[in-house]
């Protein structure tokens, strides 16, 4: 301590004499990095985004473009989060649903009820005969806000034309501003796209157990990946349990209401929905069975009064060996879950034909 440097005042300011006046100096020194940033922006909009897309949220923008493009509309579309991405193979669903059914998997990673409500008008406008929504028990929790990057992506993807903020209360002011942002603001937000691309490429190379999703694939968006086990699996289970417990402890009164509002987003636009409670890892199930049951119960209440709503509970469908981690089905689990959804779709169409007939 005693040999620390002294604290005397500096006597002079180091530097070198410059002929330019200070004002010119300041303008020059401020302009140079701004010009650099401007070049960065031009390269981003003219080269980077057209070539490599929008990084981690590219699937959202692609989804908007996909729905808006002229193509043969599927009979049923599956919406949800990464559990649906990894757990639903549209080909297997079609096989189980019957020969006249075509299916697409339009799920977006991390999507919760409020986010699915943002997707609803555009998806409904594509006029599928049925929308299958896969929900985790956490859908019974309080509604959440949208991730800001995603909000910008939904704006770019054309999902904000009908003003989602007027329908969805849980969206914050910031999110609403992002949803309706001008193109240049959205592009600015997407400036880390090249870095994200680089990261995901390196990640996939270094760790084959981590999936890199096929962003523009609507039949089989999953990528086969290995399973985690042992301590890492236990840690993932424990993380999910903590997250869900925290959500359970929050004010959850409005959670089922948000899920019901989600179903009504589609039925009010004349599109029937099949609400499926996703498979839950057996180690996570004990604490969440009541939660899942209450979610199913409230949805069944809606289904009882609305023939356009059907409910299926797959929370106990898969054993521990059919999960690749605490959340996502593995390849075998995907087959089982896809067949389950296919059977539910077939049953729904048989019933609705029976009703209409």
């Amino acid at each position: 301590m005693t040999e620390s440097p002294d604290v005397r005042s500096p006597t002079s300011i180091p530097g070198r004499d410059v002929a330019w006046p200070p004002g010119v100096m300041i303008v020059a020194l401020l302009s140079a990095p701004f010009l650099g940033a401007l070049l960065g922006f031009v390269l981003l909009t003219a080269v980077v985004i057209p070539r490599v897309g929008y990084g981690g949220v590219n699937r959202i923008v692609s989804l908007g473009a996909h729905i808006a493009s002229p193509y043969t509309r599927p009979t049923a579309v599956c919406l949800g989060n990464s559990v649906t991405i990894e757990g639903v193979d549209a080909t297997l669903v079609e096989r189980a649903a019957g020969t006249d059914v075509s299916v697409e998997n339009l799920a977006i990673a991390g999507a919760h009820a409020a986010e699915l409500r943002v997707q609803a008008p555009l998806v409904a406008a594509a006029r599928p005969a049925l929308v299958v929504i896969t929900l985790l028990p956490e859908a019974a929790a309080a509604p959440q806000d949208l991730d800001l990057d995603k909000a910008y992506a939904y704006g770019i993807g054309g999902f904000a034309t009908d003003d989602p903020c007027s329908r969805i209360e849980s969206l914050s002011e910031k999110t609403c501003s992002a949803l309706s942002a001008a193109w240049w603001r959205a592009a600015l937000r997407m400036r880390t796209t090249p870095i994200q691309r680089l990261n995901s490429a390196v990640r996939a190379r270094l760790n084959p157990a981590v999936s890199t999703r096929r962003e523009n694939k609507w039949t089989a968006p999953f990528l086969r990946h290995g399973s985690i086990s042992g301590l890492r699996l236990q840690r993932h289970i424990s993380e999910m349990r903590d997250t869900w417990l925290a959500l359970q402890n929050d004010d959850n009164d409005s959670g089922p209401a948000e899920t019901i509002a989600l179903a009504k987003e589609f039925t009010s636009r004349g599109v029937p929905v099949l609400m499926v409670v996703a498979p839950v890892h057996p180690d996570l199930l004990p604490g969440f069975e009541p939660w899942a049951e209450s979610l199913v119960e409230s949805l069944r209440g809606l289904a009882a009064t609305n023939p356009d709503v059907a409910v299926a509970d797959a929370s106990t469908l898969l054993g521990a060996d059919l999960f690749s981690d605490a959340l996502h089905p593995n390849e075998d689990g995907r087959s089982v879950f896809s067949a389950f959804i296919g059977a539910q779709i077939r049953e729904f169409f048989q019933r609705s034909r029976g009703v209409s007939g």
Binding site: M1, T2, E3, S4, P5, D6, V7, R8, S9, P10, S12, I13, P14, G15, R16, D17, V18, A19, W20, P21, P22, G23, M25, I26, A28, L29, A32, P33, F34, L35, G36, A37, L39, G40, F41, L44, L148, D149, R189, R191, T192, P194, I195, Q196, L198, N199, V202, R203, L206, N207, P208, A209, V210, L231, R232, Q234, R235, E239
Partner: protein, 554 residues
């Protein structure tokens, strides 16, 4: 208001314009003080009351120590300032006003209860009333008693405010914990209060002023505006360096003038600071966060890598802030001393503390270690002094046990360093080896290992996680697969690139000269080219969300 925001750029340009247009020193000081209060109030207007409180008390106390008796109108003016600030900063509901709602009312202000504004209002107005009375009473004491009374009042007021805002919940939570251990149920109140940004920095700064005045090391400042500017000077207000009066006040003696040489070298310092913060610290942070947010089960390699990343992050974040603060000041014509001198090249822990956060380590030396007796005491007492100083230094960083442990760890290392140094000084052959290039490399490696372990203690707050991390850090678990390195998620490649760039650039700077100095010596077109390229890089690497400086929380 963060340095890397457009609001700050606007404020900075306004202040530059003022300095360019206004020639009178007093007006310059007043406007810079206003800018400093806007800068600090941007976080929360209510925090400004604490600065005004600290400024008023220390200004009056220093004058009292010197024997200058303020007239009654002067005392009344200070009281009115305190009372006016209390009302201005606490009564209106400023966030609601920003949202376009109406003004708050007295009844709303007083309805806050124990944790609300009522308590703060009472305290502020209480100080405003009690201050002049106490001032008069102190002057009835003899000189020695009066000087001591003013000093104690100043230190007590500063420590009271700091303890209340920073350590109250820590104290009550631990009290309740102790009660549980003893089988007693203590219903400890928990305050829902935000920690005022940078409170530890400006509290230490104002305390050094009063103590220096008491010791006769610095004359008391006669101008309130100049003193208030010393306390609230915005470039270094929230994360230092902690300035002594002699390091700042002399620069207020003459009017500032913008000079091209200062603008150039100051801007280069700002650029280096921004590169450290935005391109390096903010890009290595996600890697360290990812590992340390759930360290359980992580292999040794991941813990090592994450600790190294955190070491890069905390250095670039904190020294980046200092560089920006020094650069802005230099543009104004104020030279702030360095706070970091390549600490990661230290070859002993004593050397490390000569190079890391110099303004804090010298503060602790001059105002704590030396008054405790310093090194002019018995060996046992010296080690005790070192431990007390470093533990309190650790606690200064935050109200958590890991900071106390970190301080104790650093204190132990300093004691051990002194002990070992004594042994090697006595053994000529060993001293020769340690002075050789191999010996220097050996000392550096040992020192680096020790400060890395220190950063682990600093970073991991959960006791179970900390025990796990230390075990993994110290004992290699033999796992070498890349997939277990924590590279599965987060932003591995950017973090590794940023850390790699830091190691190369930092080593190069250490071996030859600092990058800001190197830039300053280049031809102007080349400097503009460097600025252009860094602008381009920053465009892509600037994080989308807000990334405050780590040391703001202290």
């Amino acid at each position: 208001m963060l340095f890397q925001t457009t609001e700050f750029l606007a404020l900075f340009l306004i202040v530059l314009t003022w300095i360019a247009l206004i020639r009178k020193a007093r007006t310059q000081h007043g406007l810079l003080l206003l800018a400093s209060y806007v800068f600090y109030g941007w976080w929360d207007v209510r925090f400004l009351l604490l600065i005004v409180l600290s400024t008023t008390i220390d200004f009056a106390a220093a004058l009292g120590i010197s024997g200058r008796r303020l007239t009654i109108p002067q005392r009344a003016a200070l009281s009115a300032l305190l009372a006016g600030s209390t009302i201005l900063f606490l009564v209106p509901d400023w966030p609601a006003l920003q949202d376009g709602a109406g003004w708050g009312s007295w009844s709303q202000a007083l309805a806050g209860g124990w944790t609300g504004r009522g308590l703060a209002l009472t305290a502020g107005l209480g100080f405003a009333i009690a201050g002049p009375v106490l001032y008069g009473l102190y002057f009835r004491l003899n000189e020695q008693a009066r000087r001591r009374a003013f000093l104690i009042t100043s230190i007590a007021a500063n420590l009271l405010v700091l303890s209340f805002f920073k350590y109250f919940n820590f104290f009550t939570a631990n009290l309740a914990g102790l009660g549980d251990l003893a089988g007693m149920s203590i219903d400890a109140p928990i305050m829902h209060i935000a920690l005022p940004v940078g409170i530890s920095f400006y509290t230490f700064q104002t305390m050094s002023y009063t103590i220096d005045c008491y010791r006769g090391d610095t004359p008391p400042e006669q101008s309130f505006t100049r003193f208030a500017l010393y306390v609230a000077y915005f470039p270094q207000l929230v994360a230092g360096p902690i300035l002594r009066p002699s390091q700042f006040l002399p620069f207020l003696d003459t009017p500032w003038r913008l000079e091209s040489r200062n603008v150039l070298s100051g801007a280069n310092l700002v650029l280096v600071g921004l590169v450290k913060k935005v391109l390096i610290a903010d890009n290595v942070a996600p890697f360290a966060d990812q590992v340390f947010n759930a360290p359980d089960g992580q292999p040794t390699l991941a813990i090592w890598l994450a600790t190294a990343m955190f070491a890069v992050q905390i250095y670039c974040d904190f020294s980046g802030y200092t560089d920006i603060a020094r650069g802005i000041s230099r543009i104004f014509g104020i030279e702030i001393p360095i706070n970091f001198n390549f600490p990661y090249f230290a070859t002993s822990i004593i050397d490390f503390w000569r190079r890391w956060h110099i303004s804090l380590s010298t503060w602790l030396r001059d105002y704590l270690y030396v008054p405790l007796g310093g090194s002019r005491v018995s060996t046992g007492r010296l080690y005790l002094n070192l431990m007390i100083t470093m533990v309190l230094g650790g606690l200064w960083h935050g109200a958590a046990w890991n900071f106390v442990l970190w301080g104790a760890y650093q204190g132990t290392l300093l004691c051990a360093n002194r002990l070992v140094r004594g042994w090697f000084t006595d053994a000529a052959a060993a001293a020769r080896f340690l002075a050789s290039p191999v010996g220097v490399a050996f000392r550096w490696a040992i020192t680096a290992y020790l400060w890395m372990l220190g950063w682990l203690i600093f970073r991991v707050t959960d006791p179970d996680d900390l025990i796990y991390c230390i075990r993994r850090f110290v004992i290699f678990d033999g796992r070498l697969d890349l997939s277990s390195l924590g590279l599965g998620r987060g932003d591995p490649i950017v973090a590794l690139l940023a850390a790699g760039a830091f190691v190369v650039l930092h080593s190069f700077g250490f071996a030859s000269r600092r990058w800001d100095e190197r830039l300053t010596s280049m031809p102007i077109p080349l400097i503009a080219g460097v600025y252009f390229v860094i602008g381009l890089l920053m465009f892509y690497a600037w994080p989308a969300g807000e990334a405050p400086f780590i040391y703001f929380q202290f």
